[in-house]
Symmetry: C2
Subunit: 569 residues, 2 copies
Amino acid sequence: MKDLSFKIEEVPQEWLALGGRALTSTIVAAEVDPECHPLGPNNKMVFAPGMLSGTPAANSGRNSLGGKSPLTGGIKESNVGGTSAQIFAKLGVKALIIDGLPEDDSTFYHLHVTKEKVVINKVPELVGKNNFEVIDTMMAKYNNKVAVMSIGRAGEMKMLISNISVKDPEGKIRSHGRGGMGAVMGSKKIKVITVDAENYKEATIIDKEKFTKANKVFAKSLIDHPVSGQALSAFGTNVLVNILNEAGGLPSKNFRLGNSENAEAISGETMAENIKARNGKTTHGCHAGCVIQCSQVYNDNKSEYLTSGFEYETIWAFGANAGIKDLDIIAKIDHVMDDIGVDSIETGVTFALAVDAGIIDYGDGNAVYKILTEDVANGTPLGRVIGSGTGNLGKLYGLVRVPVVKNQGIPAYDPRAVKGQGVTYATTPMGADHTAGYAVATNILKVGGFVDPLKKDGQIELSRNLQIASTFIDSTGMCVFVAFATLDNPDSMPALVEMINARFGSNVTVDEMMQLGAKILKMEREFNKNAGFTNAHDRLPEFMKYEELPPHNVIWDFTNEEIDSFWNF
Amino acid sequence: MKDLSFKIEEVPQEWLALGGRALTSTIVAAEVDPECHPLGPNNKMVFAPGMLSGTPAANSGRNSLGGKSPLTGGIKESNVGGTSAQIFAKLGVKALIIDGLPEDDSTFYHLHVTKEKVVINKVPELVGKNNFEVIDTMMAKYNNKVAVMSIGRAGEMKMLISNISVKDPEGKIRSHGRGGMGAVMGSKKIKVITVDAENYKEATIIDKEKFTKANKVFAKSLIDHPVSGQALSAFGTNVLVNILNEAGGLPSKNFRLGNSENAEAISGETMAENIKARNGKTTHGCHAGCVIQCSQVYNDNKSEYLTSGFEYETIWAFGANAGIKDLDIIAKIDHVMDDIGVDSIETGVTFALAVDAGIIDYGDGNAVYKILTEDVANGTPLGRVIGSGTGNLGKLYGLVRVPVVKNQGIPAYDPRAVKGQGVTYATTPMGADHTAGYAVATNILKVGGFVDPLKKDGQIELSRNLQIASTFIDSTGMCVFVAFATLDNPDSMPALVEMINARFGSNVTVDEMMQLGAKILKMEREFNKNAGFTNAHDRLPEFMKYEELPPHNVIWDFTNEEIDSFWNF
């Protein structure tokens, strides 16, 4: 961005077999000074489609974004559905790397990526616009299939809760949500990136027959599994509200309780009833080729569109943790968060803490909506306070009960009552992140066996195995939900690896791919170490060590030594 | 504070010879979990008078406060003049240690310390009051000599810029300024601590004759030195404005320039003229027994009192760095900062950054005054933003040019142009702190020899020697300005150590006291290491590595390896 130039480079031999998280983390580790300011000239943004993105592989449409996070101060990989992964892959682009800050920073820029070049133009007319308008403008300018990655007003203002919006197949929004990467895009003065692959049909596949055969086995494993094949499509990710509430691990009132009095009102079952009664869509894929279809279209009681991609994490954060009982208000909040471009998890956890700070009343969804549209969108002091995320809000208001790890807000599973998930939150180099090693699967859903969520036994090993596997899965372009099948169906993971071999003409084993996952995970931790992280950052908030969580009245009882043993591999 | 109880304990043998910083850091390292939340139940506040406090030793009236800093997240020692050190010492109190949080936190408490006990009472009538009123109330309740340590509204709200105010001999205010320790006192719900030593005259001295003789030599060394004996008493610490401006190391416009167009208007010379013309006092001691008298009383142009203890750092921060040209407005700001209880360095550096954030205009002193009195004092969102300090303001507004080390604002000497001072900022466990190893002495004032401020040669060793000596001096109860004499006059340091021997009947050498300084410094670093600090935290802000500072057009050019070699001792 410094001089608004671009360069097309051959991919170094040693990076050829990588994709997604494996590639973004490798490039960030190789090229970004871990001590750099995340919003300064020396940070980079690295977009990379997964190894299988752009192929017909089921659920392979996720794109990874890497860089140094301004929220955590550590390495970040955040992957997203939508159309960008497939379009990059069809162009044969392994990664888009953006560095520097523009010398002329008087306005924002638009990057248009095609097979041959990157065109960089000033777009003063888009400054201050939000994501839906930007996406519509880009579709009108190019075509309906163009990939669009944009930031809203929050990203322009470099807020730490800002995300990067990615157009889905219907022109709606999926997000590179966590870690404040919208602020990095804002620091580089990039309002929108478009990628056009109109004349390119599919990513290359060396052995198509082998690929198709493996893909059938793999897709079947997803469809056959009760979680990915039934529960997620029937109720969306929001099926988890009732499940976690029953397990006593649904964090409520800013992590004071493990049950919510709002559970039924905000549950996946209630949501599905609303959707059916209001002519919405209960199933919907965030990217082409998804066979799970956990997304949906949610309308209001006049059957007018409210939002889509209405996820458990969002509904939990505002519904249970901040106490907003009305799904429709949460849906309105969800839509405006997409539009101004903020991470719905970080934002929701921040608003729940804002109740403790005395900024809003518990359950007041209208106040949340007003603050988002009037304060966050306009960058008032209050908007900046909320826009700084959970950890910083806690610092500003002198709060102690602040649910963050590495300054990133803790998602929708209380670590005291879902201890495997707690190990993941504590140890992942990403900061508190539920997808990094989704131990909820084995702790609560009894996928991949069962490890008692309330006991410490086996949790370290569970989280470690899941984090290693997830690091690999995040490199394939696959959605995290393929893990249910790979954990329970012995044919699933070999089929996934077989597709990689078929695509690249390689001959890797499942074990070798797990070794790749472990290597990348350790590389990410090494980056963080050089950025100033130690074992002391692999900790849950101190209050969880002495404050019991009802109804099981459990505390976080791992010793530091136990947690630190996570890295013994 | 948990159950509002107190306990008088014998001092363990191994702590008997310690005082001030050596004692507070030793107790904090022994008793505070480095991973604890600074505002939670497991942090402690440790007040300890210096080894010589309460004796007639010249300039020995400083009291140390230790704990885990909520601003830096590391160990903190902040020492202060006023009357508290001498009164603790006269009572024979080696340290006052405060732990826990009160179970009943519905209001604030008053701790009254006497020889026999600590009386703890609720003081709802003092909640929301500021420091001058609290001090006046306590003097009326007890006597004019009672020691008072209080927090203003900023401390009640646990703001990270809040400090702890200490009554000086005239009922004015000195401060445990840096590190946000007022927020720790606020977290423990303590509004005010009083210490009464009415019937106790002097700390015990084993060999009075030897003591008196050594004190004469020591006091003479202070008075004979041109800096401590003449410059500081004639112009106050503010003598440094013109000196640093000439040296090109006076940070201006948020560390963009090394000279200020306001230098003459805000200089010590101008200040002294105003004081004389307006019937103020050019000399004044912050504690009884001070022979340097660098403080003063500053009146407005109607000869009405404006402020006292009007220091270079404050005047620089608002005058040069934030561009306020009018000393009288800065004096008004200084007074209100004392009253609401905020650190004048952190607050000033934050306001200079607030210009970059677009919150105030450069040089607008009235806007600063308004924000302090209306927003900070009342905890509005804007008040919370400013109240969170420089580093957090930078995070909220996505700023890159943020002058902090370990999240603490950098004081009044640009490290690029006063490189020895930069080494101190980078390496001291305290966060950016000018008193931790005042290399300005040798870089600029040519005290203790001369090390060229613009070159790297010799700076690491200079800062190391100064930090070790300062750690010892901070343990004696002596003010940092005794260092000028100890650096230049070979009789000075031996006389200081001789007073310690005379007081305690010990037989320690100067070398042994330097070893003590080194040991405490390493102990502090070890605490920080266990709290999550690494070499990566011993860094100046990245922008100083690539942005040249006029007029010398110098950058911060130390390598990481050079800085890390500081700890090779």
